[in-house]
Amino acid sequence: MIEVRNLTKVYGQHKAIDHINFTVDDGEIVGFLGPNGAGKTTTMNIMTGFIAATSGEVSINGLDIVADAQKAKAQIGYMPDTPPVYGDMRVDEYLNFVADIKGVRRSLRKDMLAEIKRQVRIEDMSRRLIKNLSRGYRQRVGLAQAMVGYPKVIIMDEPTIGLDPKQIIEMRDVVKNLGNKHTVILSSHILQEVSAVCDRVMIINRGKIVASDTPERLSAKLSRGNNRMQVRVKGEKSKILKALEEYPVIRNVEAKSATEPGTIDLILSGEKDDMDIREFIFRCMCKNNLPILLMKSTELTLEEIFLQLTGDVRSGPAGYGQGAITGKTDTMIDDFFEEPKEEESENEASVSDASQEDESAGGEAHDTHI
């Protein structure tokens, strides 16, 4: 069990992480999700004892990472974002060296290394110099290194970065298997990746945990189901807007000329949160003889999720961090996960420039995906 209490790291004026609290149970696979610079790597570096926290504690199975550093570190395998490999060693030499510094007994070593190499699929590379390996294989050697000694906890910083799609899938399988024997913490900035392997996802932004839940519940909450649709309709804008007025259940969030000539792109949402508006949209457009060329639910990108969770204003550097995350965040998390309606109404209630910009930003960001 890993306990992290009030962890804070300050670099000069900048708070890299800000009073982070969480626990990870034995055998759990937990994913840290966050954009670049969110504090994922800093948190991991502190948890593994590589750097010190400004304040706060980390305990690994009851052992403090500072006070009982040696014993606590013996329980952790760490794979940093750059694989810590020596280019002039052969894979076998390197793994033996790692086994040496981790104090793995000689009698166990041979079988253990063979098993690990099999798991991460680098058996064929045993005699190769690490500097001659491709990025993907180096990454795997980095993972193998973390597994040496079968530590109870394995911490991985962006394990799939720089891998090709096939390798990513393989890496996911390896990580999933690890979950049987080890407690695994990994970080990523890709939502799909985390949701594919993790039992629980923690979203970190600007040094704070803004959400923590199972990936299923997180995605369900975040994608809003069929309540918010992106629609492309052929016809004149005025005519379409007029047609929509006949159906007050559909709220027109945003309309703009689309990439296709003679069409309009709309972001529509339902009056109520749990409303399926697809049928209403169909009837509305059908009645007015306006062909629907495209209709899909607006899945929120990770960026938008952050904007939502942090209640941040997306207006460039000026709005950066303006009170959005301070204080408000905690309630936002609760609102978001326990009573989504409230969160919605909160957005609605504050018909400020901020929330509108938030919404439109979402639309824009999505537009680029079409």
């Binding site: 590589f50 040696q70 013996a74 940093p80 810590p84 020596y86 790692v98 510094i101 981790k102 290194q145």
Partner: protein, 288 residues
């Protein structure tokens, strides 16, 4: 400690560094031996040793430049510092590896006085051994400085040049120290500056302005008090301080055939100080 030691030894001989160091060192000493002992038909091997200590200036950087800077550059330090090894074990392992290479070179040079022994009835064994002890102590002191400077940077070139500069300064330290003012007032100012520097370091590590100012004022008050009551305490303090870093100056007594305990203790404490500093710099970088 042993895994790190083994790894460093292997690295010395898989990269060129180990061979380069051994080749250069033996070549230089062999050259001096050939010229001074063989060509001039002089049996004094001690003078070869004392003449070759200056080559540590550029031989030691070869040995120490990559020890820590390369780990930092390739981020392999993350593996070491998150492993169950303590920083002390890591530093000692690397230091001992550098020392071992130096010892191998030294052991090979022992063949030179043995060659002389063929032609001599009685070689001054004790004087040669004494000179060797001093020679090794100077070399290891230089290695300790090199290890320390390698800890400070993640760039091998900077580590090498920095080590050379530091050793060069130590080489010239005796002449440098002698030209320093010896008056009591100058010494007093020097002590004051050191107190301010200590307070500055204190502030840098604690970020507590009040305690740093109190420390500085207290130190300066004590210094002023001492200066007013008994200014002779400050006699030549600059020279004495700087001479402490003059590693080479102490070698002269070994070369003269004197094995003084105080000099041995000096070298050992110098080596321990720099290893301790290396450990602390790493610990501190990680624990703040």
């Amino acid at each position: 400690m042993i895994p790190i030691y083994k790894k460093e030894m292997r690295t010395y001989f898989t990269q060129m560094m180990g061979y380069l160091f051994l080749a250069f060192m033996i070549l230089l000493i062999g050259l001096f031996f050939t010229i001074m002992n063989l060509m001039f038909r002089d049996a004094n091997f001690q003078s070869v040793l004392s003449n070759t200590t200056m080559f540590f200036l550029f031989l030691v950087p070869i040995l120490t430049m990559r020890l820590f800077s390369e780990e930092a550059r390739h981020k392999t330090d993350q593996l070491l510092y998150t492993s169950p090894l303590s920083v002390t074990q890591i530093v000692l392992g690397k230091f001992l590896a550098a020392f071992t290479l130096f010892a191998i070179a030294t052991a090979i040079t022992v063949s030179f006085p043995l060659m002389l022994n063929i032609f001599a009835d009685s070689l001054p064994v004790s004087r040669i051994v004494g000179a060797y002890i001093g020679w090794i102590l100077v070399g290891v002191s230089c290695i300790a400085v090199g290890v320390f400077i390698s800890v400070l940077t993640d760039n091998q070139i900077i580590a090498a040049v920095g080590t050379f500069a530091a050793l060069f300064l130590m080489f010239l330290m005796e002449a440098f120290a002698m030209s320093m003012p010896t008056s009591n007032f100058a010494s007093f100012i020097f002590v004051g500056l050191i107190i301010l520097a200590v307070a500055g370091i204190w502030f840098n590590s604690t970020r507590n302005i009040l305690s740093s100012v109190v420390l500085a004022l207290l130190g300066i008050a004590v210094a002023i008090g001492l200066y007013l009551f008994n200014s002779s305490i400050f006699d030549g303090i600059i020279v004495r301080t700087l001479l402490w870093f003059s590693v080479y100056a102490r070698y002269d007594s070994f070369a003269a055939g004197i094995l003084s305990i105080s000099d041995v203790v000096y070298y050992v404490s110098f080596i321990v100080l720099f290893i301790y500093l290396s450990i602390n710099v790493i610990e501190k970088r990680r624990w703040r």
